[in-house]
Structure formats: structure tokens, C-alpha cells
Assembly symmetry: C2
Homo-oligomer: 206 residues x 2
DNA sequence: CGCAAAAACCGTACTGGGTATGATTTTGTA
DNA sequence: TACAAAATCATACCCAGTACGGTTTTTGCG
């Protein structure tokens, strides 16, 4: 009868417990120094079960970090250019700061930043976002050759850089408020740069 | 007495043999289906020796694919803007086509394209190129905040896209000449886009 | 040449991520 | 209560990569 289940809730709970345990152990001893066996044991499950919930050790940390730029482009209001829609989207994100508890987020960022394997995983995620955005842009502007792909590459790269900068500041101990304020300005700057080109606003240097 | 050695030559030879053997086996049976043990055996060395020459299975294919954009920026002639120097650099690469034997190159590209692990490795390489370029740009235009990093991200992303497009055409059976001709045009287009912005030359679509 | 030191090489055994198998327990429902 | 589906598990396995300790090859030099 689809009771919308006790079962489901228990699964979600177990999943949560595994992820939390993993993050805690990683933060304590470092990503490489913790084995999945230890995580499983500490979370009270078997290794096999852990891998039934998470497809890899990386995914214990990187689960659900993927944003969906392509959807932003597809669902943009009539008459708004793709780039404008994306600018609005990130303006919104920057303005309302970060919703998740800062503590956990910060721990996660620190763990990621300290492990090459995880950083690589992040850039993998970015690459797949880029491909999806490229597909959405190609749909929005057909017969434009490589242009949509070039646009997608530039946009994704810029967004990634903004995120990196933001998180670096948090890791360095900057307050959330200040980091958010700086991010707001940089979102505008970055999209201006995208729209008007790198030769705009250089001035001093040749 | 630093005979500039027999030793050196033999090492280079062994290294070459390992890489060639690996590429051949990967092309025949697929990247995942070949174990490093098999490669080592086929190349007549021990697994340990293979890993003394190559730090990982991936590197058997991805060795030396890294370009050095940062150097292009650092060594640019007096008075030339960084972006102009990079444009010249890639114009040159496109014009003189590909120097390595097309056969081997094509095999390598096919193998890479067919393996997620290798694709991930490529994007890792791109990321480190991006960081180096960012450092060079920051040196070229100090006190510009995030701008150099944003530029580096955009430039690297665009170049990566051009490379991907080029190789995709080769894999699809396009002739080298035609692929090179298209690449030449796209280099110009891509750098125009970088310099003048995405809002330039859109026209049809809003 | 002969010989010692360095460097390359190798066999073996190990670690750790991830998977296959097949058995066992838990849970929703009749 | 009974039963089928789903979740969990112990175990054994595969493969990339490393540690260890020993053997062979190369080289510089007397």
C-alpha cells in the first residue's frame, strides 16, 4: 500500500549515519589515512553495505555537490538570454548565502581541499555539468557550431573559480558574511567579463 | 665521466617499449580489460619496474600531454597582451597541424576517449595547467583581484573545448587536413569570443 | 682487466578500494 | 502467522600500487 515507508526512513537514516561517520573520521585523521573498512565498522555496517549506499569512497564526501546549470537555462523566463538567467541564478545563491549549516559545510570543504583525489572528483563533477550546460545551450541556439560549447566551457570555468575563491576564503577563516559580500560583487564582475570580454576593463596592463 | 650514456639510452628504450606495449594492448582489448601485470609481462619487465617508469596506469597513456600556457604568457614579446600571445601560440599550433605521427596519435585519442578514468586524468592535467596560467597572469597584472584567475579559467576551458572538438572529428574519421582547417577558424572565433565577450555576435538568439 | 659502488631490476608479499556470490536477516503485507 | 521482497552480511576474490630485500648490470677507476 505504499506506506511511504518506515523502510525508506531507516535507509535514509543509515545513509546519513555512514556519511557523517565518514566525514568525521576524514576530518580527524585525513582522507587517505581512513579506510572504508574503518568507516563501515564505525558506522555499524558491513563494507558491502557501505558500497550499496555510496558508489565509491570519494562519494562519501562528494555526494550531492552537483548543481544543475542546464536546468536554469531550460527553465529561464521567456525572452531572457541564457547568460542572463545564469547571472540571476548565481546572484540569488550569493545573496541568500549558504543555507546548510556552516560548520558541516566548512568541514567538508576542508576535507576536500586537503585531498587531491577529492579535488579531482570535484573537477569531474564540473566536467559533467559543463557537458549538460553545453547541451542545453545547443538546444537554445541551434546551428551555432562550437559556440555553445565554448560558452558552456567559459561559464562553467568561471563559476568554478568563484566557488573556489569563496571556499578558500572560508577555509582561511574569513567570516561567512564577508565572504558572501565579496562573492556578490564577484558574481557581477565575472558575468560582466563573460558578456563583454576579457579586453574590457583592463586599462592599466597592456 | 658522464659518458652521456649507454644507460640513458637503454632506459629510454625500455620506457618507450613499455608505453608502446601498453597502448597496443589498450587499443586491442580496452583500457579496463588490460591489467598492468599483463602489460609488464608483455613488455618483458616486472610490475615494479613498470611503476618505476610510470607513476600510474593512467600515465602510460597520458604521459607528456601537458602543454605549458604559463610559459607562453611569461615569454611573450614586450608590449603584447597575454591573450594576444596565447592567440598567436594556438594559431601556430593549428597552422602547422600535428607533428607526431597521426596513426599513433589517433590510437591514443581513441583509447582516451573510451575510458572515463583517462578522461578524468585529462581534466586533471587541464586543471593544473589552469593553475599555472593563473599564476602567470597574476604576475602579469598584479592587484587585479580575481580577474586573472577568472581569465585563466576561461582561457583554459576554451582551449580544452577546441582540443576536444578537434579530436572528436579525428575519431569520427574526418581527414586531418579538414580537421586542421576547421580548427584554424575556430581558434580565431574562440579568441574573439574571449576578447569581446559572449554577448558579441549572437544576433539571432536573444 | 678487475673490482667495488651505484643503479637498475626483480620476486614476493602486502595494503586498500571495489565486486561477486550466496546465505541470512529484516520488514511490509496478506 | 506466513511469505516474498528487500536489506544486510561474511567471505573470498580482483587489481592498482607499495614495501622489502635480494640479484644482476653498468660504470668509473685503479
Amino acid at each position: 500500500m505504499m506506506m511511504a515507508g518506515l523502510r525508506e526512513r531507516k535507509k535514509e537514516q543509515t545513509r546519513q549515519r555512514i556519511a557523517e561517520t565518514a566525514l568525521r573520521l576524514f576530518a580527524e585523521h585525513g582522507y587517505d589515512a581512513v579506510t572504508v573498512n574503518e568507516i563501515a565498522e564505525a558506522a555499524g555496517v558491513a563494507k558491502v553495505t557501505l558500497f550499496a549506499y555510496f558508489p565509491s569512497k570519494e562519494s562519501l564526501v562528494l555526494d550531492q555537490i552537483k548543481d544543475d546549470y542546464a536546468a536554469v537555462v531550460r527553465n529561464r523566463p521567456e525572452g531572457m538570454p541564457p547568460l542572463g538567467a545564469l547571472r540571476e541564478h548565481f546572484r540569488g545563491i550569493a545573496r541568500r548565502g549558504v543555507e546548510a549549516p556552516v560548520e558541516t559545510l566548512l568541514t567538508r570543504v576542508q576535507v576536500i581541499a586537503s585531498s587531491p583525489a577529492l579535488l579531482s572528483g570535484v573537477s569531474q563533477t564540473n566536467m559533467s555539468e559543463r557537458e549538460e550546460l553545453a547541451a542545453a545551450l545547443e538546444a537554445a541556439m541551434p546551428d551555432a557550431g562550437v559556440v555553445p560549447r565554448l560558452m558552456a566551457a567559459q561559464i562553467t570555468a568561471v563559476i568554478t573559480t568563484l566557488q573556489e575563491t569563496f571556499f578558500q576564503r572560508l577555509v582561511k577563516g574569513e567570516s561567512l558574511e564577508k565572504a558572501v559580500r565579496l562573492l556578490e560583487d564577484e558574481v557581477e564582475l565575472a558575468f560582466d567579463l563573460l558578456e563583454r570580454g576579457l579586453s574590457w576593463q583592463e586599462g592599466t596592463d597592456s
